[in-house]
């Protein structure tokens, strides 16, 4: 009964979405306030119904209702409760329900919290949002019903892929989706602005909090996914340039560009059509990601079950939404008048360089990701794969100048800036960065030139960012109390920028350290074997068999010593899941800021050897790797600070609150 209710709720939500696609739009063009305001009720109604459907699906997983096909295929009665709940979004259908839930939640949030947005723009935005939800709700109902029943019900389920039974990964899709799908509302704002034919500073200000919120979630989602890959896959890497990683990374890159170009539109009324284009493209890349993951177009470790019919449906949705919005853009964008002028050396130019580099980097990642497909199509069936060497040699060098400009940018003033003066102020920062890079070169024996350059730029960015903050609060120029008072009065967005930029600098230390100075040992061990790595002596004490709730584990015991002194005992595990017939590695990590000592058990050395307790042991030392996650946390917190800025809450260019009479007269 409850699954049918969930199915019915989806159908009701589709009905509301159809109404919301048309009525507010008609209201906006005819000046009918009642029609425009209908979007509020219908967007809240959509949220309610989709939430009911989601809850119904989740209940089926919680109580292990094996009459529902989706539960049978993705759950098991012995699974821990957390993973039963996470199983709700572990499959194609379930994750799509989550996708739509977040989509309609953003629509409802705009109608609830967007009190300062003019009625017309809000009505059009919500109508566009409803177009998207119409597309995806119909996709769910027509091709991917999550509530399909099976008869007769099997006694137990097939289990969720054990790799995915992990707390980090249970939380990864929801965060990633909030980011991905959150850009939908920015897209809707952009299309609504194109329909209105007007983009101004106020528009950029209304869009900014939504962009920030989506960007923050995407940052958290990507970082969590990368952290998961790091400790769960047992390879010790944190980024593999897998197509599915790339498709989550591209909206992040372009979303970052959008955040910055929207600042120019807000403050200087410039870059208007570029900002609109970025808003459209960012969400288009999110949609592209959804398409690639679900169509089986590219080979990837993450892909869902493949179904060409679904792929075709999403491609059609893509054609309508991306093609339609870009056609609208091609028609309307040339009519937008250009805004404030600026000199080649100015903050505008700095942000332009930021945008060009981020856009080019996005293009590079997109090209590298899709090249295997293009190649296959053009050569008539030949296949190849594009691996980390391509991305490392194209993407990384592209980002380095960006980091350099990031250090300078905040010092530049709007319209025209004095580059000489800025460089003058930063000469100590540059000297210190150079010294830091030299010091690293002296201490760490070997490493690629790129790594030293990265260290130089990370120090440069960190110090320049702190220096800029210090200048703003006139640190050391006026008494400390006065500086603190200034810091309190500084807009939170300024603190947010400082924190986020410093966060990227911190993350670069992590990227460079763990890529360039990683050490790795893969050895066969028997009880009593010793391995030395990065100053640690690791002794393998043996492996023991243990039983978990739905798995059997071999747990190794490693004693770590440094200079003879005991440091820590590590317990890497190798788990096999009999129901799902697969194995996972649970690595054991000794984490410090200086670096991670990372151990994982690979397969037994051979059959006879496993009887005598011999294993393949992989031990890595990844210097500075935790700086990556620390930097991600700072990026997230910086976004949060900026989001809490007073100007976004109050909406400075506030118009008199739109009463019915006022709008009718407009």
């Amino acid at each position: 009964m409850i699954p049918e209710l969930g199915h019915f709720a989806l159908a009701l939500a589709l009905g509301l979405a159809l109404v919301q696609s048309v009525l507010p739009l008609a209201g906006a063009s005819r000046g009918n306030l009642l029609w425009m305001r209908s979007a509020r009720a219908s967007s809240l109604g959509q949220l309610l119904f989709v939430a009911v459907a989601f809850a119904a699906l989740m209940r089926s997983f919680v109580v292990s209702d094996f009459t529902v096909r989706n539960v049978v295929e993705n759950s098991h009665s012995l699974k821990p409760m957390l993973f039963k709940i996470a199983g709700t979004w572990g499959s194609h259908e379930g994750s799509l329900v989550l996708w739509v839930l977040i989509l309609v939640a953003f629509g409802a949030a705009v109608s609830l919290f967007g009190a300062n947005i003019p009625e017309r723009l809000k009505a059009r935005t919500l109508a566009v949002q409803a177009w998207i939800s119409t597309g995806f709700l119909s996709f769910l109902l027509l091709t991917s019903n999550p509530f399909e029943r099976v008869f007769p019900p099997p006694p137990d389920g097939n289990d969720l892929n054990p790799l995915l039974q992990d707390v980090g990964l249970a939380m990864h899709p929801p965060l990633l989706y909030v980011g991905y799908v959150g850009f939908s509302i920015v897209f809707s704002f952009a299309v609504a602005a194109l329909l209105e034919g007007r983009v101004d500073a106020a528009w950029a200000r209304w869009v900014r909090p939504w962009t920030l919120a989506a960007w923050m979630s995407l940052t958290a989602g990507i970082a969590l996914g990368s952290w998961w890959a790091y400790y769960e896959l047992g390879w010790g890497g944190w980024w593999f340039w897998d197509p599915v990683e790339n498709v989550s990374f591209m909206p992040w890159l372009l979303g970052t560009a959008l955040l910055h170009s929207a600042i120019v539109t807000e403050k200087r009324d410039a870059f208007k059509s570029w900002t609109i284009l970025l808003a459209i493209l960012t969400f288009s890349l999110s949609l592209l990601g959804t398409f690639i993951v679900r169509s089986g177009m590219l080979t990837s470790v993450h892909a869902f079950a493949v179904d060409p019919e679904r792929g075709l449906y999403i491609l059609m949705l893509l054609a309508l939404s991306i093609g339609g919005s870009l056609a609208l853009y091609a028609w309307r964008a040339p009519m937008m008048e250009a805004g404030g002028l600026f000199r080649p050396i100015s903050r505008e130019s700095g942000l332009l360089v930021n945008n060009l580099i981020l856009a080019a980097a996005t293009g590079t990642v997109l090209f590298g990701t899709l090249y295997p497909l293009f190649y296959e199509a053009l050569t008539g069936g030949d296949k190849l794969s594009v691996g980390p060497p391509f991305f490392n040699s194209s993407f990384v060098p592209m980002m380095l100048p960006l980091v350099f400009v990031m250090g300078l940018g905040p010092f530049l003033s709007w319209k025209r800036a004095d580059l000489g003066g800025v460089l003058q102020r930063l000469r100590f920062v540059a000297a210190l960065s150079g010294l830091a890079a030299l010091a690293v070169w002296y201490v760490a024996e070997r490493g690629p030139v790129l790594a030293y350059l990265a260290i130089f730029l990370a120090v440069w960015l960190l110090l320049a960012t702190l220096r800029e903050w210090g200048l703003r609060i006139r640190l050391a120029e006026v008494p400390l109390g006065e500086s603190l008072r200034r810091a309190r009065k500084l807009p939170r967005a300024a603190h947010g920028m400082t924190l986020a930029h410093a966060g990227l600098a911190v993350a670069i230390f992590g990227f460079a350290g763990s890529s360039a100075w990683k050490s790795e040992e893969i050895v066969f061990v028997t009880p009593g074997s010793d391995v030395s790595i990065a100053g640690f002596d690791v002794t393998f004490e043996g492996a023991k068999r243990l039983n978990g709730p739905n798995y059997i584990a071999d747990r190794g015991t490693l004693t770590v010593r440094r200079d003879g002194a005991f440091v820590k005992t590590l317990y890497p595990e190798r788990r096999s899941y009999p129901v799902a017939q697969s194995t996972t590695t649970e690595s054991a990590i000794r984490s410090t800021l200086a670096g991670d000592l990372y151990a994982s058990l690979a397969e037994p050395a051979s059959d006879e050897a496993s009887a005598s307790g011999a294993w393949t042991l992989r031990i890595l030392y990844e210097p500075l790797v935790n700086f990556i996650w620390l930097g991600a946390v700072m990026l997230f917190a910086g976004g949060g600070l900026s989001l809490s800025d007073r100007r976004l809450r109050v909406g400075a260019p506030k118009r008199p609150s739109a009463t019915p009479a006022a709008v009718a007269a407009e």
Binding site: S273, P308, G323, A330, A377, L384, S385, G387, I522
Partner: protein, 189 residues
């Protein structure tokens, strides 16, 4: 002019869309790989040794006249699964006396040497395929890939991806045992 510029994103999107439509063809399986080499002679290639690795290079002739089946493994130091596979291949060499040849694919020689020094070198010969040319001849789709080549230089088996994990090792082991059971072939191909 502005009008034309504003059209560019749409045109690019249409081109992408056309590729995607082609890619959705239900007969196309992106994970299926053409195995044109099976039962064919190994392709013509001639690779120099990896400087500093201490083993000779690899060419087609080295595969043409052997006493039994040999294994050709395509690897690179930047490839993470290759590291996992390295232990398995080393075991085949040490325990079963397999003759293992390597193609070092798109890899800087110094990186490859460091990798081999770190993990050990089970390879009898290693050809340095810096520009990926031999990789194209062999039709590889990525690294690692492992081929079993008969005593007369005929490619008998291809394994895509790392030979790691019980199933993969079993599949590869069976193929290897069959290849080695075949007596010296006189008929040629």
């Amino acid at each position: 002019m502005v009008r034309l510029l504003a059209l560019i994103p749409l045109l690019i999107a249409i081109v992408f869309g056309a590729f995607f439509l082609w890619g959705l063809n239900p007969d196309r399986d992106p994970s299926e790989l053409p195995s044109v080499l099976i039962s064919q002679p190994a392709p013509a290639f001639d690779l120099p040794p990896v400087p500093g690795a201490g083993v000779p290079g690899l060419a087609q002739e080295d595969l043409a006249d052997n006493d039994g089946a040999v294994v050709v493994n395509v690897f690179a130091s930047w490839c993470v699964p290759c590291r996992a596979e390295h232990a398995v291949l080393t075991r085949f060499v040490d325990e079963e006396g397999v003759r293992l040849f390597g193609i070092n694919y798109k890899d800087q020689p110094e990186d490859a040497v460091a990798w081999l020094e770190n993990l050990g070198n089970p390879y009898e010969r290693i050809g340095s395929d810096l520009d990926g040319r031999a990789g194209i001849e062999w039709g590889i789709s990525g690294v690692p890939e492992t081929f079993i080549v008969g005593s007369d230089g005929t490619v008998l088996f291809r394994y895509v991806g790392p030979v790691v994990g019980d199933e993969a090792v079993e599949e590869f082991g069976i193929a290897l045992a069959q290849a080695r059971a075949v007596p010296l072939q006189g008929e040629g191909s």
